[in-house]
Symmetry: C2
């Protein structure tokens, strides 16, 4: 018999509203007969979408954590927050492989910390799997969940990233780089300078030294470690620069009357660099697969996130 | 009579060696009959280049500060360091408009602090003038000279960047953004959260709020403020991503037999995004124009840096 499993989707928190997320859910159900969904959010809105009733479970949790709320306070003060209910359900449901969320990262982190910590109980980090120029992928940790962390956390991120790349990409001894402002071991801010020698002697870590921002995508490492603030810059800047260049290519095509080929090239690049529809971050250190889509996510982002989950279940890599 | 002026070039410190820098000097002399050069470095090497003797002055200072030295220690311990001699000469020579260096950023900062501080005597910062999607330019400060700084320094950077964009780009009231991991005022690391309200009430600063890394090039601000570590990531990552995409375009052209148009598009993009040859950072807060080329600089980088200096002298913008 075919494997059947459940995925929990938090329908609230996306800038595009619950209907965009539910449209993604509709596509997922259509394309994956072996997946059932647990949809968390405002039950009236969810019901109104008219999804096949035998393949969804609805959890009514209409409250959200906004970017202006303190997520920890929200956890104690608000009763029916969708992201917390989603994490709780994801933990409880044995047939559930993971959850998808497109809301506030801090709130998701609190949900994971509360319900989904793995046996090591280390602080989770939010990883992005970025395409690199060596035709491989680099796991960037952390991309914004853990800001202002210390060296011991960066070392945990290195382990979480290494474990993930070993498991998913079958890389035996993943090369771990440390994001810095210069490749020499003497370069960095206080945190990087402190972390460098610790990573170098850390057991189980194949440390390859400092990596500069222009080499983040060069394929010099399989795991790129950073605290979340600078890591967030690398992730988002990569996206922003790619968008800028793709826009320029389209303009060039228009200006020179070569729109068709410009469109071909732009399309080719977007297959790799359109993080909005490709892209979900994955929370490493959680007991189940927790995927974080961008706040601007629409249906295609939800579809991609589900594809990532099924890829992982099928023992494939992230974007296959 | 035509304006004649001097530029000081530190011939040491580039990864490509002094000859690449001297080749740049040769091109500059050839293209700019009204510029004389003061070349600092190993006099034998400089002489061997055979540049027109009536248009150059040579200062023999063969020592360097490597990426493994502490620049402040080097200042006191080494006698003939080219970057320090270059800064000293730049300060002393009344006909000198500025200097160009492609070596260690920390050493350049020490040289500027020692010899070239302006009347306000604030800590200088290293700015990059980045192309933005609104067809303008955004001044990113700091890009790596000042790591681990506090809120008061970020506010100084905001002023230095604003003054520069007012003067050079004739922007009356430059919009100042603060680099963060989210656009909401509540987002950021400790430093950003502390700086945000201070920038908002700072007199003479037109603060437009937090800017995320994917919007760094969107043209939402004229000055983007960051401490040097994260700023360095944005600068270098923009370059690295652009290189990755341009490489992909060439590959696509080859694969599909459309190499000519792919080359055209790549060339078009490189005009804006090839930071290596375009690119020099400018040290704001110095008494003269101090241009910092990348460590990987060759002749074209030196040529571009001189062009920037003459543009500024001619009351034009950076890359005209």
């Amino acid at each position: 018999m075919e494997n059947r499993f459940n995925i929990v989707i938090d329908t609230l928190g996306s800038d595009k509203g619950p209907d965009a997320i539910l449209e993604g859910a509709r596509i997922v159900l259509e394309e994956n007969p072996n997946i059932n969904l647990t949809l968390v959010g405002d039950q009236e809105v969810i019901k109104a979408k008219g999804l096949p009733i035998d393949r969804i479970k609805i959890i009514h949790a209409p409250e959200t954590v906004t970017n202006y709320d303190n997520p920890v306070e929200a956890f104690y003060k608000k009763a029916n927050v969708s992201v917390f209910k989603a994490a709780e359900e994801c933990a409880k449901d044995e047939n559930c492989i993971g959850m998808i969320n497109a809301g506030n990262t801090g709130a998701l982190l609190v949900g994971v910390l509360r319900f989904l910590l793995n046996e090591k109980r280390t602080r989770p980090c939010l990883a992005a799997i970025l395409p690199n120029m060596a035709k491989g992928f680099t796991c960037l940790v952390d991309t914004g969940a853990s800001i202002d962390c210390g060296p011991s956390q960066l070392i945990e991120f290195a382990h979480l990233g290494s474990d993930f790349m070993k498991k998913l990409y079958k890389i035996e001894n993943p090369r771990v780089g440390l994001l810095s402002n210069g490749s020499e071991p003497t370069k960095g801010n206080h945190l990087v300078k402190e972390t460098h020698p610790l990573l170098a002697k850390e057991e189980g870590i194949n440390f390859v030294g400092n990596i500069e921002g222009n080499k983040a995508l060069a394929g010099m490492c399989d795991v790129l470690v950073s605290e979340g603030f600078a890591g967030n810059q690398v992730l988002k800047n990569t996206e922003g620069t790619a968008v800028a260049l793709i826009t320029e290519i389209m303009k060039f095509g228009k200006k020179t009357g070569q729109e068709e080929i410009a469109q071909q090239i732009a399309g080719y690049l977007m297959k790799t660099y359109d993080f909005e529809s490709l892209g979900a971050g994955i929370m490493l250190g959680a007991r189940k697969y927790v995927l974080k889509c961008r706040g601007s996510s629409g249906p295609s982002a939800i579809r991609s996130a589900c594809k990532i989950l099924t890829n992982i279940m099928d023992n494939k890599t992230f974007y296959e």
